[in-house]
Amino acid sequence: MKYLILIVFLIPILTFSQINFDGNISGNFQNDFQLYLPDKKLDFNINNPFSDFPEERLLNNGFTNLIYSSKKISMGLRYENYLNPLLGYPSGYKGEGITYRYFQFHNDEIDITVGNFYEQFGSGMILRAYEERNLGYDNAFEGVRMKFNIIKGINFKSLIGRQRIFFTKSDGIVRGLDSEFILNEIFNKLNFSSNLTIGLSFVSKYEKDNNPKYNLPENVGAWSSRFLFNLKNWNLEAEYVSKYNDPSYVNNFIFKKGNAILINTNYSIRGFGINLSAKRIDNMDFRSERNESLQNLLINYLPALTKQQTYALATIYPYATITNGEMGLQFDMNYKFKKQSFFGGKYGTGLNINFSNSYSIDKNKINNATDIGETGTLGYKSNFLKIGEVKFFQELNIEINKKISKKLNLISTYINTHYNSSEILGYSYQGMIYANIYILETQYKIKPKHSIRNEIQILKTQEHEGDWLMGLIEYSISPKYFFAFQNMYNSGNSIKKINYPTFSFGINKGKTRFSTTYGKQRAGVFCIGGVCRVVPASNGILLSINSTF
């Protein structure tokens, strides 16, 4: 292993030594240190075995990236340290080491990467390796990837490798091939007002069958086809993925094939944009090890077709794709009322409306003697177009952004959520949670470079933990300083009405940023993109430093 790494870095020095090394070194660095402090109200202390209070008292997450790049080659590595990982991060990250290193060579026709790499085919429903560092998600490949662009309008990608899991790699090997045909370029009709692109992918994984009871497939293949059509301001794209039988822990070891379809269409002109999406997912959990679960060793990415929320109370009930089967729709519209119009006023008014839902898929017994999803069987039959009986999620968002004057800007948001907690989180919660959320954000410029921003948020629900209130006030002095105070209060909780105050302070100095937060963290599910993790309640001081060089 040691030699392999050395070779990776020595090859360019030896073989390309005739190339003039006029490249650049760059990188970034981040380290977070959290000191945990006992808290009576949260019952967060070392003597309470149920509280997650860390024996270490101080925990640390960090990483450093180093990249060398010149016109034709680039190489780099990442050192990660989790000593030990912050609460809420997978415990598999305990430790430190070089987790990512690569060498890449490219010219106009070919692009070769050896070592670690991230990749995505189409929408990612067949293959996507990516990182979400702040959630501890990383399923990078280690192996070889090649991209070819030999004929104009035709792009090929191929890869072979094993995926990262914490500080080690999967036993399974993934092989993939992706092709893309841009018809207008192939037929040299570049000035044509419409454009059609077609893509085809094939991915297969190999994992040895050690199961004593069942004869499991060692090679599992999946293929996908997609197209993208543009006509002036209108786009239509669709992708269909199909996977051969892949019995796994997540699908309860059924031998059914899987498939997924995603359709997106949008139309937009300056001042107005509209998007409509639909999807159906059936048994599409795809991992390089069949016994893995959670966010580990996923080969593909199944996007959640819901609005990505960022306001604190709107993230209490986040949706995550149910990979064993779901179907849903999303509608999203942005409109800007023109200046000087009735709704637009002096500066114009922005409006966003988003509606999304998700249901189970239809599932029927394959025969009378077999239960739906029974291990070792074909699982179930499903009518492709029929919507299942269980509602997973529904959400309506209305956001109005109104600039009142040169100094004052208001954003008001209303969200209505139906959240099936038993299905989405798999917890023994109380099934469907109905919540209404009201948010008012105010941005006010006091004087040049000084501004104040505040948020008032109210969440109303009869279920789960009941109502929440949240307030935030942030004062910033451009470009260097910010101070913020926020409090969340679980006013509707019949057992524990707890305040979660935090105070934050940050400094930006050139390319370095230092920030600190003191206060309480609520327990909950935190998501970025499609990835979520469960974070326990805690109390303490977080110091974070990051820098780019």
């Binding site: 490249g23 650049n24 114009g348 501004s451 451009s478």
Partner: protein, 162 residues
């Protein structure tokens, strides 16, 4: 031991390369335009003036504030400096198809691209968004991450220094 070895090799190698602290060229990376076509960053050209690259995403509120602020001043900026703004979204396939309707719905006059595999984000060591770069002759000469009201004026001062 292994790690120390690698670091030594790297340091030795990097020491021999000409490290330039002040400015460095924009890496050549494939992005997608909002019609899904691959576009390489080496096609980014603004013959008469500087280029600003803003990393953003449809779910990032400070990014929207930054692009709104620049959008309002954009006509004046172009008149004075001939600057061109390129807004690069790091949205993934959950939001790919919302990128253009979102930008159009905000009435932004910028060129929009999608860094669909986050290759450019990694190559430029972007950790958090918003992250803004100022380029002169396709060399990155200034960068800044995060956005507070008033930061757009700091950026404009940097453009004027060119």
């Amino acid at each position: 031991m292994k790690k120390i070895y690698i670091i030594l090799v790297l340091v030795f190698f990097f020491d021999n390369a000409h490290a330039q602290n002040k400015s460095f060229p924009l890496p050549e990376i494939d992005l997608k335009n909002t019609s899904g076509k691959l576009i390489n960053t080496n096609t980014f050209k603004n013959h008469n003036g500087p280029i600003i690259i803003c990393f953003w995403a449809t779910w990032c509120k400070p990014c929207t504030r930054e692009l709104n602020a620049i959008s309002e001043l954009y006509d004046d900026w172009i008149e004075e400096t001939n600057v061109k703004v390129i807004a690069i979204s790091i949205d993934d396939s959950r939001n790919f198809s919302k990128v253009k309707p979102y930008a159009d719905g905000k009435d932004w006059p910028f060129d929009i691209y999608i860094d669909y595999n986050n290759d450019l984000k990694r190559a430029l060591n972007v950790n958090f968004i918003p992250h803004t770069f100022l380029l002169s002759d396709n060399d990155i000469i200034w960068q800044h991450s995060s956005f507070f009201d008033g930061d757009e004026e700091i950026l404009f001062q940097e453009i004027l220094k060119l």
